[in-house]
């Protein structure tokens, strides 16, 4: 069976997803460019922190 042509770890996939989604969400806001950048950064951080938090919360279920 052929593997994926883009070998990514779970965390790398999360980073790419969070980055691209945050960019799109920030672009929808009616703010100044600087505020949009801050919004994107905050959204990216929340994506990553919440995903890692949920992963740790689910850790006992897998053991």
């Amino acid at each position: 069976m052929r593997s994926a042509p883009l070998p990514l770890s779970h965390f790398q996939a999360l980073l790419i997803f969070a980055f691209l989604s945050s960019l799109a969400l920030a672009c929808l806001t009616d703010r100044t460019p600087v505020e949009r950048l801050k919004y994107a950064a905050r959204s990216f951080a929340l994506f990553v922190i919440i995903a890692v938090g949920i992963a740790w919360a689910m850790f006992p279920l897998s053991h």
Partner: protein
């Protein structure tokens, strides 16, 4: 109490003039992510939406995510198709990029399925945004 500025008063009272090209801009935005904003001369938004939708879709294909066909036979498949087809031209590109087909037996393939659906959702949001800007409902 002073009278309001006549220009501002006219702007409030007169309904925003509808742009008859708005539906065509929405269709263009759906076919190529960012094209609607490009036609509206919103360069930054056009580039960001193209990169976001395109990046999500191509990453999803490279992770060998599942691309839902138009006729899947069940409600979940139809919902998946609607989400995937939202990415416009990138939905068609799937057959050229993901030549080996989907592999959702691994986590990467499952993530890929979500990436592809997210690309469609992001582009659908950008279509709504382009339509609203074209019809002058927002700046």
């Amino acid at each position: 109490m002073t009278d309001p500025n006549p220009t501002e008063q006219a702007a409030v009272q007169a309904p925003a003039k509808q742009n008859s090209a708005a539906p065509f801009i929405a269709i263009a935005a759906w076919i190529v992510p960012g094209l609607g904003h490009l036609l509206l001369r919103r360069w930054a938004r056009a580039i960001v939406f193209f990169i976001a939708a395109g990046g999500l879709a191509i990453t999803g294909y490279l992770l060998r995510g599942n691309v839902f066909p138009p006729r899947s036979g069940d409600a979940f498949g139809t919902l998946g198709f609607l989400a995937d087809a939202g990415s416009g031209v990138f939905y068609v590109l799937a057959r050229f990029i993901e030549t080996a087909g989907a592999d959702v037996s691994r986590a990467a393939g499952d993530y890929g399925t979500r990436f592809i659906a997210a690309a469609g959702v992001v582009n659908s949001i950008s279509v709504c945004d382009a339509y609203e800007i074209a019809s002058r409902r927002r700046n």
